[in-house]
Structure formats: structure tokens, C-alpha cells
């Protein structure tokens, strides 16, 4: 339907849309995050939900304490190696469609603890992350911006075709392997289907 006919109809009080538009409109305005926090970024996440920043304006105020009812996992804070299997397992327990925001320097890369022995160097090694937010910790505005970015991403998703999202593709994985504890590190150190170390060429 072309734009001219659509605006003509809307003048007559008839609203037309596509099924895809209606479906994505409903989904992006009702994204329920999983209620958990891992470190100081969680404090900023809590501030984002409260009256001053008011995440409820975007339809995401309903933090669910059960992964079975959640659509969005906000990984807010440092993921230690001891915690990483539980985070992956919680993600596996969420029903599709599901999304991940990695919030803060630690969640996206290990942050200041990257060279340590106990912190995972980014949760994107085990689960697919939709939006990364840098910052230590990111301000509530940054989380709102990430959330709006995620809404734009949901809005652009196709219902069919090769570009369709994971939850409409029966071949795409919905669960990801939970890493095991090794003698020093998690085994495997990353899921190669989700993440590969970037090839960096540097003069030795």
C-alpha cells in the first residue's frame, strides 16, 4: 500500500498497517527485563527504573523475577567466572524472543578486571549480545539510549526471509552451551559460534 493511499485512508478514520509493523510495535513496547543485578551497574539500572529517569515510559518497567517471563536480560555489572555459567543458564531459561543488553565496561569486556584471574572478559563470549553500553558505570541516560537502540532493532526485524530473527528461525539456536569450571578458567573460554577473538596484527 502506498503512502498516499494510507494517509488518505487515515483522514477517513481508517488506520492501516502491516502485520509485521503491528507485531513489532507490540513487542518493542513491552520488553520485560529479567530482574537481577551483578555489580554497581545494577544501581544505575535501578535508578533508571525509578521516577527521575522512568524506564516505564518505554514499556520496560515490569522487571520479572523469573526468566520464564522475561524478554530482556540486562547484564548489569561484572560477570565473574564463577557467576558466568549461571548467567548463561538464566539466558537459556528465557523464552524466545529474547534480547541481551551488556551494560558497562565489565560486562562488555571485563573492564578494569580484564587482566585478572577471576572475571569473564565479556559476556558476549557465551551469549549473543544485542546492545553493548560502555561506561563505568554507564549513566541512566546511556541505558535509556541502549534501550531505545534495542527498540529500533526490534522494530526493524522481518517476520520472514533469511534475515528473520532467531525466534522465527527453527534452525537458529535458542540455548547456548553452559561453560564448565576448569582448573583455572572456564571451559571452553568462549563459544566460537557466538564470539571469536578479533585478529589483531601488532609488531612484536
Amino acid at each position: 500500500m502506498d503512502q498516499g493511499l494510507r494517509s488518505e485512508l487515515s483522514k477517513q478514520g481508517i488506520f492501516t498497517t502491516t502485520l509485521e509493523g503491528l507485531y513489532n510495535w507490540g513487542r518493542r513496547n513491552s520488553v520485560w527485563p529479567l530482574q537481577f543485578g551483578l555489580a554497581c551497574c545494577a544501581i544505575e539500572m535501578i535508578a533508571t527504573t525509578m521516577a527521575r529517569y522512568d524506564l516505564a515510559r518505554f514499556g520496560a518497567e515490569v522487571f520479572r523475577p523469573s526468566p520464564r517471563q522475561a524478554d530482556l536480560m540486562i547484564v548489569s555489572g561484572t560477570v565473574t567466572k564463577k557467576m558466568a555459567p549461571q548467567v548463561v543458564r538464566l539466558f537459556n531459561q528465557m523464552p524466545e524472543p529474547k534480547y541481551v543488553i551488556a551494560m558497562g565496561a565489565c560486562a562488555i569486556s571485563g573492564g578494569p578486571f580484564k587482566q585478572g584471574y577471576n572475571v569473564l572478559k565479556g559476556i558476549d563470549r557465551y551469549i549473543p549480545v544485542d546492545v553493548h553500553i560502555p561506561g563505568c558505570p554507564p549513566r541512566p541516560e546511556a541505558l535509556l539510549h541502549a534501550f531505545m537502540t534495542l527498540q529500533r532493532k526490534i522494530d526493524a526485524q522481518k517476520l520472514s526471509g533469511p534475515e528473520r530473527p532467531r525466534h522465527l528461525n527453527t534452525d537458529a539456536p535458542s540455548e547456548f552451551p553452559v561453560p564448565k569450571f576448569g582448573p583455572h578458567d572456564l571451559v571452553p573460554p568462549y563459544n566460537p559460534e557466538v564470539w571469536q577473538p578479533p585478529k589483531m596484527v601488532r609488531a612484536v
Binding site: Q115, G116, Y117, N118, P183, H184, D185, V204
Partner: protein, 211 residues
């Protein structure tokens, strides 16, 4: 509160065979401490808690310290033949000082509102004889902190009710807070390496270039 000398005197008078050393602290905070021996550790702790004058009923803090093996240089005067004449010469003698693990307890009295009394326990070395008596039966609040010291430093507390790792997972090898802990080579890339990290990134890349 009594001075540490008085406390030390009373401990050695009441508990036969107990060895207590006063460790001075010359820094501005000036908090000297008592080094107690392993065999009478629990008995001395019980005395500190139950003595009516001390009543040290609150253990606020347990700390682990790793003292690695060090080489101490000592200046000594040696008699030496210099051009046929026996003269006194300054020489340097190097002596290996055995390292040890140390556990520091800060205890207060809520009843008498005084403290802290700082009590130290030392292991004999860093590898084999790393056993210390647990003070958890005396102060319950030591339980998690002694577990943490066991986890990160490797001190084995005899008499602890539940000595497991607490921060790292079961099956983790090594004690990461020890000075000689070597982190595994898990480098893939470092965006902005510098100093020590740059050295390690270079050695990692050199090793991978061979493979």
C-alpha cells in the same frame, strides 16, 4: 584497656608454655600486635574472649598476609688480612629468610567498648606446614573470613567446621592472592597493553607465532 605488655604477661602466667611475642608497629597509626603460637592459639583466644577484664567478644576482621622467602643482607664486621696486617673490614652476609603465611585477627570488646587487640598467627612455611588453628570455635564471625583466607592464600585452618573455597569455585587450582601466583596465559588480544601487560602480551604472541 590494659597495655599489650600486661596482656602478654597475664597470658604467659595463666597458660603454661604459651609463647607470645609483641610485634611493634612504627608507623603513625602505632598499632602493635601480639604474635601467638600455634599450639596454644585456641586456648589464648578463649582467654582473650572470656577474661572478665578483656571480654574481647567481637571479632571484626581477619586478614591474610603472604610473606615470601626473602634474602636479607646483613652488614658484619670481619677480621681480614689486608697487606699482612689484620684489620677490621665491613662485609655483607646474605641470609635466606624463610617466608610464611600470616593471619591477623582484629578483636574488640563490645561489653567494655575497647579495642582493637590485634592478634597474629604465623605458619612455619608457605608450602607444607601451612596449618593454623581455626578460631571459628571462639568467634563464629571468623568462619567465612577463614574460608576466604584458605581460598586465596592456602592456609589450612584445623578445627574449622566447613573449610571450603568461598570465592573461587571448587576444583580451582592455586591460591591467587599469593605473591608467586602465576596467572594462566589466557591472552587473546589486549587493546591497549602497557607495562607488565605489554610484556605478557608480547610473550603470548611470540609463543603463538611459533605454533
Amino acid at each position: 584497656m590494659e597495655t599489650l605488655e600486661q596482656i602478654k604477661g597475664r597470658i604467659t602466667a595463666i597458660i603454661p608454655g604459651a609463647r607470645v611475642d609483641l610485634i611493634p608497629n612504627e608507623c603513625p597509626s602505632n598499632q602493635p600486635s601480639l604474635l601467638i603460637d600455634q599450639e596454644h592459639g585456641v586456648r589464648i583466644a578463649e582467654f582473650l574472649r572470656d577474661d572478665p577484664q578483656l571480654r574481647l567478644d567481637y571479632l571484626s576482621n581477619v586478614t591474610g598476609v603472604d610473606w615470601p622467602d626473602t634474602i636479607v643482607k646483613e652488614k658484619v664486621k670481619v677480621m681480614k688480612l689486608v697487606e699482612g696486617v689484620e684489620t677490621e673490614v665491613h662485609g655483607v652476609v646474605e641470609r635466606k629468610k624463610q617466608g610464611y603465611l600470616e593471619v591477623v585477627y582484629h578483636i574488640y570488646s563490645i561489653a567494655h567498648k575497647h579495642g582493637p587487640v590485634i592478634v597474629r598467627l604465623r605458619t612455619n612455611d608457605r608450602n607444607v606446614a601451612v596449618h593454623l588453628p581455626s578460631l571459628t570455635p571462639i568467634w563464629r564471625s571468623a568462619e567465612f573470613q577463614e574460608r576466604e583466607i584458605y581460598d586465596l592464600y592456602g592456609v589450612i585452618f584445623d578445627g574449622h567446621p566447613d573449610l571450603r573455597r568461598i570465592l573461587m569455585w571448587d576444583g580451582f587450582e592455586g591460591h591467587p592472592m599469593r605473591k608467586d601466583y602465576v596467572e594462566p596465559d589466557d591472552y587473546e588480544y589486549e587493546p591497549t597493553p602497557h607495562d607488565e601487560v605489554l610484556e605478557r602480551a608480547r610473550s603470548h604472541q611470540a609463543r603463538n607465532a611459533v605454533l
